[in-house]
């Protein structure tokens, strides 16, 4: 039970990050490998506001600051690095994204050195509650609850609003979308903004569980969330959620079993390979119809 809740909350974090990958892939048709570093940037923003105070209220302020900073950073990288390459070969865009990733890490190193710096969000002092005999960390429950709320809101936004529909249209056929009067560049910018805001939430939740900030903080959750997005079916919003949660639960279950725990990462990526062998489009991915 404890493991399950921990796994679900870790899965929620992966899902938030995976959503950033999958939405950008679905709408801008590019893999934004710098997405993990947006989380790192958010983590530094949180570090600067909260530091070692362990003040919960300050953590909320820090979250808002992180959202603002991540959105600004995400939109700026799109504008400066990716937009000039629109229509270029996907490989050029991919290499650029990797370059942006290293650039962000190097900038962080320049300002904050490569040392890991501890941060106290106050999550530890939240304590835990006992439910059905299980000892559940309150911070995990809050993470889980907020992740569910955010994902519900996002799903409603995409399915029910005019702008959400425009996002789906751009994702399916950018040219046809612009013939509907949709400003596709604006929709792509908005997608980066939403992905980055989700990444900021992920920064805070991640620090609540692993309270050390370093320039490479984003790499591992980034690559795992990317894996989650691919497992769920890249481009699919529910797929990213399912993939993220699945990966989080598997990670926590593996770690709770001593015989398996050293192989956790191997098992996670092994799962990716198996799923791709069986279902190359991912669990909820759709085969794209060939365009006539």
């Amino acid at each position: 039970m404890e493991t399950l809740i921990n796994g679900l909350s870790l899965g929620g974090i992966y899902a938030l990050i995976a959503l950033g990958y999958t939405m950008v892939y679905g709408i801008a048709k590019m893999l934004n490998f710098a997405h993990g570093d947006i989380i790192m940037a958010g983590a530094y923003a949180i570090l600067l506001v909260v530091g070692m105070t362990g003040n919960l209220l300050l953590s909320v302020v820090a979250l808002i600051a992180a959202i603002a900073f991540c959105v600004l950073l995400g939109v700026t990288t799109e504008r400066l690095a990716y937009r000039p390459l629109r229509g270029a070969s996907p490989l050029a865009v991919l290499i650029t994204a990797i370059g942006v990733s290293y650039l962000l890490q190097s900038i962080a190193q320049l300002f904050f050195t490569s040392e890991g710096q501890p941060v106290s969000t106050g999550a530890a002092q939240l304590g835990s509650v006992t439910f059905l005999g299980a000892n559940l960390k309150l911070s995990s429950l809050i993470t889980l609850g907020l992740c569910v709320m955010i994902m519900t809101a996002l799903t409603l936004f995409v399915d029910k609003t005019r702008v959400g529909r425009a996002m789906l249209a751009v994702s399916e056929d950018r040219g046809a979308a612009s013939l509907m009067g949709i400003n596709t560049n604006l929709i792509i910018t908005l997608t980066f903004a939403i992905g980055s805001a989700l990444a900021a939430f992920a920064s805070l939740f991640y620090l609540m569980q692993f309270p050390v900030v370093s320039p490479t903080l984003g790499s591992m959750p980034g690559i795992k969330a990317f894996t989650a997005a691919v497992i769920g079916g890249i481009g699919s919003i529910p797929g990213a959620m399912v993939g993220g949660v699945l990966l989080g639960v598997i990670e926590c279950v593996c770690q709770s079993i001593p015989a398996l725990s050293p192989y956790t990462i191997a098992i996670e990526f092994g799962l990716l390979i198996i799923i791709l062998l069986v279902r190359p489009v991912g669990l909820l991915g759709k085969k794209r119809r060939e365009k006539v």
Binding site: R162, A166, E172, A177, S178, L179, M180, G181
Partner: protein
């Protein structure tokens, strides 16, 4: 009065100049057809008009506004809508969502509902299937949806790119009847077609495009009775 004036349009695909200086105009209230063989550059012209691809040279005026470099999404609220080749409806969205997207630039809800009713009246099949994913419609139904979707934006000028492509003869007739009806209701139409016979029979005027240049122009009737045209395009 000319609603659309195209002057010396030149467009390249990569290193190949596909459109080599084309000029034509569409007057208010007309149906104008652009006919020509496969590869003559008809679709290239349509894409260039909506700025889905860039132009090398030339100017385009819509009403009195220079739209040579106006991005596609800004043309829709000005009253220029395009039904692209291959229909390109949003296959994964429902019929109703497709129609809503057609009215993306019109925020008046009452007007939207009124337009929707009008479309449903014209094509009851769309009403029946409004909650169905658009990819499940037949080719002819998809063409109707694509045209209805474009009309949802209240265009003054409708650009139709190969509306009869891949449709059964029965649907071809339906589609051409609909084009005439849309025109009678006050929408000017620029039509690109491989089915020259059908296109010329409903067009007020037409231009014949041959490898990137206008080879001939005249009224629909004149071109229909032109021997060279009959041999080249009508299979007589």
């Amino acid at each position: 009065m000319a609603l659309l004036t195209v002057e010396n349009l030149q467009v390249s695909y990569g290193l190949i100049r596909a459109i080599k200086g084309v000029s034509f105009e569409v007057n208010e209230g007309e149906i104008v057809a652009l006919i020509g063989a496969n590869g003559a550059g008809k679709t290239t012209i349509m894409h260039a008009l909506s700025n889905l691809i860039g132009k090398d040279a030339g100017t385009v005026h819509f009403a009195d506004t220079d739209i040579t470099h106006t991005p596609a999404h800004k043309l829709v609220p000005m009253g220029l809508a395009q039904v692209p080749e291959g229909r390109r409806i949003f296959q994964e969205l429902t019929v109703a969502e497709n129609l809503r997207l057609g009215a993306y630039t019109r925020k008046d809800k009452a007007e939207f509902n009124e337009m929707l009713e009008k479309m449903f009246e014209r094509f009851p099949i769309l009403k029946e299937r409004r909650k169905q994913v658009a990819g499940t419609l037949s080719g002819g139904e998809q063409q109707m949806l694509a045209m209805s979707r474009a009309l949802m934006s209240h265009p003054k000028l409708l650009l139709l790119d190969e509306p009869s492509m891949g449709l059964s003869p029965l649907y071809v007739n339906t589609i051409f009847d609909m084009i005439r009806q849309i025109n009678e209701e006050g929408t000017t139409v620029l039509l690109v077609e491989q089915n020259a016979k059908k296109a010329l029979s409903i067009a007020d005027r037409a231009y014949v495009l041959e490898i990137g240049k206008i080879a001939k122009t005249g009224t629909g009737e004149e071109l229909l009775s032109d021997d060279a045209i009959r041999r080249a395009y009508l299979g007589d």
